[in-house]
């Protein structure tokens, strides 16, 4: 069967390519800041937002976006103001999101979570043209923000004190990253699905860092792995008649396994070369 014969598959392919390109670029910062599960956490907070929308009769998707952004800000505030590690702050928001979602809907008169979900869950196979526009807008926002502030975020993740003595506003900068991730996750879950967007943020980065010796290298390789997983995973899901989200994620996990497996021999080989090129370490240059 020819894949591109179907419009919906063309759209799915474009969406997968965009997600595979953009999300690992956010993910590499999230991994460095030890917020690898932020994606799923934001998903749950967005659900709580929909619950709130039911309760107060506001529009669900914007409320969800606002809730996720607030969740992102709260994570950073908890981190900054109290002695709480990043993953722990995330866990608080995560469980708070689930509990809040159930409570609010229960208070709003017992609508089930299925009702919540319809406002939030997309799937690669059902991406509409409007969805593509949304994805594109968010992708551009993400790329622009990272181009401008990515270096600041990197320095911050390296060491907050060093960042501050370079004039970087630490709390604002880390909020920027988290809010950006929240935005990407909420739009992504609405269009291509939560599993896909939150996992493709992280898994390719985990694969890339097995082989890489630098942050830039990790980001670049992460994008490659993300792209490959997204496109090949979509094709495979069509061939094997399985849902595309999980297929892509499983493929990315296979990439991770492969990278981890080759990491050891590769490291060995690479450095034999380096060792050969560097006969007397630390002795060739003297003080400048």
């Amino acid at each position: 069967m020819d894949l591109l014969q179907y419009d919906f598959l063309q759209r799915a392919l474009i969406a997968a390519a965009v997600v595979g390109l953009v999300t690992p670029l956010i993910g590499v910062f999230l991994v460095q800041r030890r917020l690898a599960l932020l994606g799923d956490g934001m998903g749950h907070v967005a659900l709580a937002g929909v619950g709130l929308a039911f309760l107060f009769g506001t529009a669900p998707v914007p409320t969800a976006l606002v809730a996720a952004a607030c969740g992102a800000v709260i994570i950073e505030l908890i981190r900054a103001k109290s002695r709480t590690a990043g993953d722990l702050a995330l866990a608080l928001i995560f469980y708070g999101g689930i509990a809040g979602g159930v409570l609010f809907t229960s208070l709003a008169g017992g609508r089930s979570s299925a009702a919540l979900n319809q406002y939030l869950f997309g799937s690669l196979s059902t991406v509409s043209a409007t969805d593509l526009v949304w994805l594109g807008v968010v992708a551009v926002i993400v790329l622009v923000v990272l181009a401008v502030f990515g270096r600041d975020i990197f320095v911050l993740a390296l060491d907050p004190d060093l960042a501050r003595t370079q004039g970087i506003r630490t709390t604002a900068t880390s909020m920027l990253l988290t809010v950006l991730a929240a935005l990407a996750v909420v739009i992504g879950m609405r269009t291509v699905g939560l599993l896909l967007v939150s996992a493709i943020m992280i898994v390719p980065v985990a694969a890339a860092q097995q082989l890489s010796r630098s942050f830039r290298g990790t980001a670049a390789l992460g994008v490659v792995v993300g792209e490959l997983s997204a496109v090949l995973g979509l094709v495979a899901s069509f061939q094997l008649d399985v849902p595309p989200g999980p297929a892509i994620v499983v493929l990315a996990l296979l990439f991770f396994g492969a990278c981890a497996a080759v990491a050891v021999p590769l490291r060995r080989r690479r450095s034999r070369r380096v060792a050969a090129a560097r006969p007397a370490v630390l002795h060739e240059e003297v003080a400048a």
Partner: protein
């Protein structure tokens, strides 16, 4: 075990009936009228990941004189019933012909995208099944409250008659349909399709985690094109995106077919009126003029 507080009659002396979700609530109301208090657990299906009953609901289940539910439809209700209610009635299991139908249903669709449980629990979408349920409720209420047994029986018969009318309307309304393929985004309409001579073609399940496979969508799209299907149905409580995708792919239109797992808040509809709306939808969508 059963609740120690299961004293039978509540403060106002009326029998307490707890229905798991809307169609059963409707049945109990039709049969019980003003003689019973009917409450609904109104937690329609879906992600029990976060679905829990409140302790007061469980208390209501354990105190009730009659609990109406369908097993394997709502796990939380199953649990509550298993421990707390002597007076629970699984309306699907207690009716042998329904169970048998369910099994044959599984046999014919086995391996496909149909089941949420070991059988299709959406029995209430066939008015004749609903009639059987109403009759059963009449019997059970009569047993629980023998003083009013005859009223219950009379009420049940009246409701069965209304359901008969509904069935007749459906039969007549769908007799002339040019298209017999009912393409739905969630396969809740198996019994209905079978009764009125349609073939249900499902696109996917309803859960966010069970996203449809692209191959399946392509297959349905091909089917829609090949069979001249003009309308894809989605249900009220579930994301219409799947239906919309197939519709956009094929040039068909979408329409809402309500599976009646619950009523919208503040709705003045009831089982009969929703089923009649469904009938109009199907008539328009399947070319039954």
């Amino acid at each position: 075990g059963s609740g120690t507080g299961s004293t039978g009659q509540a403060a106002d002396g009326k029998p307490q009936v707890v229905a798991a979700f809307y169609p059963l609530e409707w049945a109990a109301e039709q049969v019980g009228g003003d003689l019973v208090d009917v409450t609904s657990l109104t937690a329609p299906g879906a992600e029990p990941h976060d679905l829990e009953l409140t302790p007061q609901q469980v208390a209501a289940v354990s105190d009730a004189d009659l609990v109406l539910y369908i097993s394997e439809f709502q796990p939380a209700v199953d649990d509550a019933v298993a421990q707390n209610a002597d007076s629970a009635v699984d309306v699907a299991a207690d009716l042998e012909h329904l169970a048998a139908e369910a099994h044959s249903h599984e046999g014919e669709e086995g391996g496909d995208h149909a089941e949420e449980a070991s059988y299709d629990p959406h029995v209430w979408l066939d008015p004749t099944n609903m009639a059987a349920i109403v009759t059963l409720v009449g019997e059970k209420l009569g047993a629980a409250d023998p003083a009013n047994a005859s009223t219950y029986t009379a009420n049940a018969e009246k409701a069965v008659a209304e359901l008969g009318t509904l069935d007749a309307e459906w039969k007549a309304g769908t007799a002339t349909c040019t298209n017999r393929d009912l393409v739905v985004s969630h396969e809740a309409f198996g019994y209905l399709a079978k009764r009125y001579g349609f073939e249900q073609v499902g696109v996917s399940g309803l859960s966010p985690e069970a996203e449809p496979s692209p191959a399946r969508i392509a297959e349905v799209a091909d089917f829609v094109r090949a069979n001249g299907v003009t309308t894809i149905y989605f249900e009220t409580l579930v994301d219409p995106k799947v239906a919309e995708t197939v519709a956009a792919e094929t040039g068909a239109t979408t329409a809402v077919l309500d599976p009646l797992e619950g009523l919208a808040e503040g709705s003045s509809e009831d089982y009969l009126s929703v089923m009649r709306t469904n009938l109009e939808t199907v008539k328009a969508g399947q070319g039954c003029s």
